[in-house]
Assembly symmetry: none
Homo-oligomer: 209 residues x 2
DNA sequence: GTATTATGAATGAAGG
DNA sequence: CCTTCATTCATAATAC
């Protein structure tokens, strides 16, 4: 909406069109702008940091790991790579999976881990996860392959799963909460301050681009 | 904050201290504020959406699956079946877990559920499961961390590790990660606009909190 | 380089 | 409680 000179009766002024503000108003206004600027800056920055690599085709998106001990420096992406089995380990694991058909007991896990640690860095969790995933994968594969497939165009079975939650929309000021020290404080303050900003101009600032 | 009718009798101020702006400046200013407001609103909203998932003591955070406003369309939302705590809920839960020394009685569960339902859909079962899982997880973590190795001097010299897998041996219980779905585009635009905003007041509007 | 696939990891829920 | 399953996310690997 185009802002008219609703507030300005100035129109009838002589030549100059001017708005007059008190010093106080001016101060408030300036503060608001500063606050907004700060907020936007922080938020944008945050998002930038969060999205290290731009989105893909719009399907999935990347992510970024924030360093826990950073606290000061910019964004250093200290490695946090997932375990990757060495070929040797993989071989052993595969073999165990075949023979020990689907029963990776806890005790076994320890043994296996010990065994595999001789061939590379590994932890029990890795082994555990590996078996879990392996099994799930196998099962899934079978399911898919065994799907009778009913030559018919498979209809959208899931008609309309209503969203279970997400009702947090209407809540008063349900703000986002981050646990991360860096982020959390930043965001919190931002949010708080955002709330405090009061519009000087009653004109609609709610024109979504 | 109340706005007075400054605009009205802008005429020459008598003894008041006033600042004068041209109409053009006023316009610019208002636009800037509007833009800032919009940006902030969007960003905050965005963050809310992004944090619909959860994470905390764990390692990662969230996800988000739907909502493409930019992506043309024909996008059906995949329904979510299992409960996912909202950030607020998670925060509360974590707190309770810490303080409520590991004994979520049935009665407590009800209370907590009531409390949490204020921040999103939730059921007692969810709370119960959450506590159970949380506990189990903690315990597991401890176990793992308390098992540094097989007592054997770690064979760090993994000769056969063709892959640069510098697996983080640490139990890595603190790492924050945000995921950004299709937000990037939005953010980008926002960012662009933010840059377009030019300061009207050359004065110190840069009071960083 | 980008998009796709494979797979390690996290977690809510169910079973015992 | 503890274990197991199913589902999903994130990322290394790989194809394009």
């Amino acid at each position: 909406m185009e802002q008219q000179q609703d507030e300005g009766s100035n129109s009838n002024n002589s030549g100059m069109f001017v708005k007059v503000m008190t010093d106080e108003q001016m101060e408030v206004l300036r503060k608001q702008i500063a606050i907004y600027a700060t907020i936007c800056e922080q938020l944008v920055d945050l998002h930038k940091s969060l999205t290290s690599h731009h989105d893909l085709a719009g399907v999935r998106l990347g992510n970024l790991y924030s360093d826990p001990l950073v606290t000061s420096g910019g964004h250093k992406f200290s490695g946090r790579q997932r375990w990757t089995p060495t070929p040797v380990q993989l071989q052993i694991l595969e073999r165990l999976f075949e023979q020990g058909n689907g029963t990776p007991s806890k005790q076994k896990i320890k043994e296996i881990t010990s065994e595999l640690s001789q061939h590379g860095q590994i932890s029990e969790t890795n082994v555990y996860n590996w078996f879990q995933n392996r099994r799930a994968r196998s099962k899934r594969k079978q399911q898919v392959s065994s799907t009778p497939n009913n030559g018919e165009s498979e209809v959208e079975t899931e008609v309309e799963s209503p969203k279970p939650q997400q009702n947090s929309v209407s809540t008063a000021d349900d703000n986002m909460c981050f646990q991360n020290p860096n982020v959390s404080s930043g965001i919190s303050s931002v949010d708080q301050r955002a709330k405090k900003v009061e519009p000087v101009f009653p004109s609609d600032a709610s024109s979504k681009p």
